[in-house]
Amino acid sequence: MFEKALKGNTNYRIWLAILGVFMAIGGLCYIHQFNTGLGTTGMGRDISWGLYISQFTFLVGVAAGGVMLVLPYYIHNYKAFGKITILGEFLAIAALLMCLMFIMADLGQPIRALNVMLHPTPHSMLFWDMIVLNGYLFLNILCGWVILTAERKGVKPPKWIYIFVYTSIPFAISIHTVTAMLYCGLPGRHFWLSAIIAPRFLASAFAAGPALIVFIALILKRVANFDAGKEALNKMVTIILYAALINAFFVGLEFFVGYYSNIPGHMHTLQYLFFGLEHHGHMYNNLVPFMWGFVVLCIGGIILLAIPYTRKQNEFTLGLGCLMIFIALWLDKGIGFVLGGFVPNPLHEIVEYTPSLNEIMITIGVWSTGFFILTILYKIAVGVEHEIEN
């Protein structure tokens, strides 16, 4: 099926070429980081995780979001999702590969990465995260490929594949739950030490993943003549709306617990993220614009998706709404959640983090690689779709 990825019109090639340029730049920057050390990033003793791990955390959610297509289609037999379920599965593959790349970019000794398997350590959540992430990646590659191949041949997928399809559903939940457990089980990091982190991660995942799929489906309709169908998109927007609202509700609950209880540890990070934290006469607030960006885009996106006209009559506003939700949740989880958790540090000092240019270029490089893979996978999926139609 790979031959489908090779043929494409000029726009397709230009798009891949642009991504290729960023991939190359990212690769060069990574070589520099590999040779010099992680000192080339903005991370340091106090903010010991930066953009890489925050992107990883967000993308695990995007991968898990695909289950919002798989579940209705395979369990509730919701036929309208038939055409786009494959988009969810392929998005999961691309997102998971990005996750693994971000982890590798973040390791101080990437060559030793296999030590996680050579010395299995069940009391470490990172060990479990590795298992579920790789398991979910395997399941999606297997299910996506087998089902697409069967569709192409015009036969029903083999029965045994459904066992893997059903297994992938709890796996999708588990990848984001275990990723939340990386954070919410750490003593002394008050912002992360909250039982609501896992459900909040899931809610934001179930909004962000589908939002990206709807956005891409609208693009595919224009550039690749692939119509996901009005009903399917409309149902997904409903899922996005509810999930985004639940996420916003959870954020509100965090505010209530922090500010009503008035316990400083529970307020500090929220204060730092949304309003700026004053310490010894200095105002620390470099993440405030991002967090208000999250609030504004989230509300704006929800409004666009909730109003019948902007949602159903106008594809531009529908796409815009989905994009706004996606970016909002990226700001929330891909920036604020991880970086904010390190402020204040365990000794109640405040150190701010600014990523270095090298680090940003590596991050863009990984995203480009992910979209490169995604483009190729979608090209194949759409190609098969067209083949069946003819």
């Binding site: 010099t36 003793r45 030590n115 350590t121 009391h123 459904y162 066992i163 750490l186 003593p187």
Partner: protein, 286 residues
């Protein structure tokens, strides 16, 4: 499709069972049971679970009901002695960092590596009252280092056992196994761990102590209670630097006749962040 559904129900049933079983397994592995000797805190974690309020707010090992067998090294830092002799703290830090070839960075540099350092009272003990400080605590600095916690969150978090708890209670690092994921740094509630963001040899071209290895880039390091000096029957370098001042006392917390237990019996001591249940082995006389 009907058949598919039946298949699904079977699968769902099995995964639910697995889901119900998982917490028990996770519980077991978290408490370290079946982990062998390396993760010696296992029994202690279980003990904690049984009597959750045992150690909370207690600053003294006397609160342990059962006497522990085996060694548990610990340290008492007498801040009164350090207040009386302001130069002593720097001397201890230097002794440690020279002994262990810790590269020197400008103070506050993001790439800084610290095994032991001086900080304000409010930073060392952020959970204690800081409202009306007496002159001594307001003017003086406190030595902080790895606490060699009895229930170390860093050990729990490490995915490779590159950081592990020894039988003698020392939380150790294996620099050759560490993958540099820095999960332990996020997990340590005391900021005791440093990462080699850059090649240490470029910052410290000639080792200050040729007998101790320098680290490679990309691994985490921290105070190791001078495990190799202890093996030779010597005291940790910082304790030795404090000399006979009595400012630092080192010894076996599980030995009721040790000097450190005598000091703990005679003085009121506090630990850093006792509410987190880590049960630090470093005690402070304030």
């Amino acid at each position: 499709m009907d058949k598919n559904r039946r298949n699904f129900l079977k699968v769902a049933g099995i995964s639910t069972l697995a889901g119900l079983g998982a917490p028990a397994i996770v519980d077991r592995v978290i408490s370290g049971k079946g982990e062998g000797e390396v993760f010696a805190s296992g029994g202690a974690a279980g003990h904690h679970g049984a009597e959750p309020t045992e150690h909370h707010g207690e600053g003294n090992t006397e609160s342990h009901k059962e006497e522990k067998t085996g060694t548990r090294y610990g340290m008492v830092i007498d801040t009164r002695q350090f207040n009386a002799n302001p130069k002593l703290g720097v001397k201890c830090v230097d002794a440690c960092h020279k002994m262990h070839n810790v590269p020197e960075f400008p103070k506050g540099d993001k790439n800084e590596i610290k095994w032991i350092w001086l900080t304000n009272h409010e930073n060392a003990f952020p959970e204690h009252s800081q409202q009306f400080k007496d002159k001594d605590t307001a003017d003086n600095k406190v030595l902080v280092t790895c606490n060699h916690c009895e229930n170390p969150p860093c050990v729990r978090a490490c995915p490779t056992k590159a950081t592990f708890k020894n039988k003698d209670g020392i939380v150790m690092m294996d620099f050759h196994r560490c993958i540099g994921c820095r999960f332990c740094m996020a997990a340590c509630p005391y900021g005791a761990r440093s990462f080699n963001w850059l090649e240490p040899k470029t910052i410290l071209p000639t080792p200050t102590n040729p007998d101790y290895p320098r680290r490679m880039r990309g691994v985490v390091e921290k105070c190791n209670f001078c495990a190799d000096r202890l093996a030779l029957g010597e005291k940790p370098a910082c304790v030795a630097a404090a000399g006979h001042s009595g400012a630092m006392i080192f010894g076996d917390l599980n030995d009721p006749n040790s000097e450190i237990r005598k000091v703990l019996k005679e003085n009121f001591t506090i630990q850093r962040k006792p509410s987190l249940g880590t049960n630090p082995s470093v005690f402070y006389i304030v």
